[in-house]
């Protein structure tokens, strides 16, 4: 009897999850946007944080509102590096040089936040990979 109930529950669960597979609700959208905006906010906080580097210089000093980072052009041939580079590599260049600090791993949550903030400030601009 107990087994039967469990099986029924499993069937019902399966049925309901099948029904919902390609749908999402307003609540989902709000949650996802909330998660995204929280990371944008983290990125903005890092963009203006003296803790990211080691000399007190912050990203926003040279790049107000993340301007002149042109994320829409990456990946591109970075002439100064002599290869096609991703934007995170350029972020690390800045961390090492003007900020005199340590680079971040590509999947470091702080790097994700920085890249998320950069992309958000550049929203609406068409993708132009490779452009100079």
């Amino acid at each position: 009897m107990k087994l039967l109930i469990n099986s029924c529950a499993a069937v019902l669960l399966l049925a309901s999850s099948n029904l919902m597979a390609d749908e999402f609700t307003k609540n989902d959208l709000e949650r996802w946007d909330g998660q995204f905006q929280a990371v944008v906010k983290d990125g903005r906080a890092l963009w203006t944080s003296a803790e990211l580097g080691k000399n007190g210089v912050v990203c926003a000093q040279c790049h107000p509102n993340a301007a002149n980072t042109h994320p829409e052009t990456y990946p591109k041939f970075q002439k100064q590096l002599g290869k096609v580079a991703n934007l995170w590599e350029m972020v690390n260049w800045c961390l090492r040089n003007p900020l005199e600090g340590e680079p971040l791993k590509a999947d470091d949550p702080r790097m994700t936040a920085l890249l998320t903030y950069i992309a958000w400030e550049r929203r609406g601009v068409k993708l132009e990979p490779g452009k100079h």
């Binding site: 203006t48 000399n55 007190g56 210089v57 926003a60 000093q61 040279c62 790049h63 107000p64 509102n65 301007a67 002149n68 042109h70 052009t73 100064q80 260049w93 800045c94 040089n97 003007p98 005199e100 400030e121 550049r122 929203r123 609406g124 601009v125 452009k131 100079h132």
Partner: protein, 357 residues
């Protein structure tokens, strides 16, 4: 040794037609019919000396100012005086202002100072005044009336009531793109002073105004802006020849509004993007301005530089000398009545690096 010697010789040999070199200062020559009335002066701006801890300062910004000072001292003929255009410090602290003042003290000649917001918002210019004097003033030099304004004050409520500490007030104003900032202005009191000051000046006397912010409205979000710009312009309107030089924007800008020619100075510290590089904002970069090349961050001093300016019959011709780029010349065109780039003004003459995105 030989480099120093070569540069000195080069500067002496080329004197007023420096090309292909890069001095991060602004050299100004004013030419009148009587050659004895001609003179020049140097203009250094936006050094943003930034303390890390104790005697440790951000090397990059120090080097910009050291270079400007060293090269100004090599100029031949020696400039009559030097203008420092504001933002000597980054966070307005005593150690930063002292360190900057010490570097500037090596200059051979009198230095006139302009107040920048980074010098002001920690103690409202109190320590700056001990070092450099009045916040706004005027002087006459060989037939030109010079006015120095403190254009970076703002609404009293923001300055006096909004922030729990002076340090926070400074930090909030120091962030160029900080939405908690507040628009710059000259203010009623100073405009009253300016009105009285200009009442003594003949209308055909060339007037040169130095301010830190632009005295025109370009982009409010980054305070490339002066809230009462129109009111200040109105006070300058009766004069035949007016030139406004300003810092703050860390880039080449020029414009003409009525009788007033506007020209910006580059920073010795770092360059800024043109406001149009921020995709989410409307802005009003003067249509006349042909933008400088996009900065290459791998060249530490790229897009910082200097201007050599000579003024014939009271109008300016400005040579922008950039460290890692070709010299630009922006001269007042008497027929067209506005400043014009000698090489790049026509759209078809512009080069790819001048396209910003």
């Amino acid at each position: 040794m030989s480099n120093t010697f070569d540069r000195r010789q080069f500067l002496k040999n080329t004197t007023l037609t420096l090309t292909g070199t890069a001095l991060p200062i602004t050299m100004v020559e004013l030419a009148f019919a009587k050659s004895s009335d001609n003179f020049n002066f140097a203009y250094i701006s936006d050094s943003h000396i930034q303390q890390i801890k104790g005697n440790n300062f951000v090397r990059n910004w120090d080097r910009g100012l050291l270079r400007a000072v060293a090269e100004t001292n090599l100029l031949t003929p020696k400039p009559d005086f030097i203008i420092f255009g504001g933002d000597l410090a980054q966070m307005g602290s005593k150690p930063e202002l002292d360190h900057g003042a010490e570097m500037l003290s090596k200059l051979h000649g009198k230095v006139y100072h302009v107040m920048g917001e980074h010098d002001y918002y920690l103690d409202l210019g109190e320590y700056w005044s001990k070092l450099f004097g009045k916040h706004y003033y005027s002087f006459d030099h060989k037939g030109v009336h010079f006015v120095v304004l403190n254009s970076i004050i703002t609404y009293d409520d923001w300055t006096f009531n909004k922030w729990p500490t002076a340090q926070q007030r400074m930090a909030e104003m120091a962030g160029l793109d900080n939405p908690n900032g507040s628009p710059f202005m000259v203010g009623d009191k100073q405009r009253d002073w300016l009105k009285k000051d200009l009442a003594k000046v003949k209308k055909d006397t060339p007037v040169i105004v130095f301010s830190h912010s632009p005295l025109q409205k370009i982009y409010k979000g980054w305070n490339f802006w002066t809230e009462d710009a129109e009111a200040v312009q109105a006070l300058l309107a009766p004069f035949d020849k007016v030139t406004v030089f300003y810092g703050h924007v860390h880039q080449i800008q020029y414009n003409q509004i009525g009788n007033i020619a506007f020209t910006s100075a580059m920073a010795t510290a770092w360059p800024w993007p043109y406001p149009q590089a921020y995709a989410q904002a409307q802005q009003l970069l003067p249509k006349l301005t042909v933008q400088m090349n996009r900065a290459d961050p791998f060249f530490e001093r790229d897009a910082t530089g200097w201007q050599f300016i000579d003024v014939a019959t009271g109008r300016a011709s400005v040579n922008y000398n950039l460290y890692n780029n070709a010299t630009r010349t922006v001269a007042f065109d008497a027929q067209e009545g506005h400043p014009k780039d000698s090489g790049y003004q026509a759209v078809e003459k512009r080069i790819p690096p001048q396209t910003h995105y």
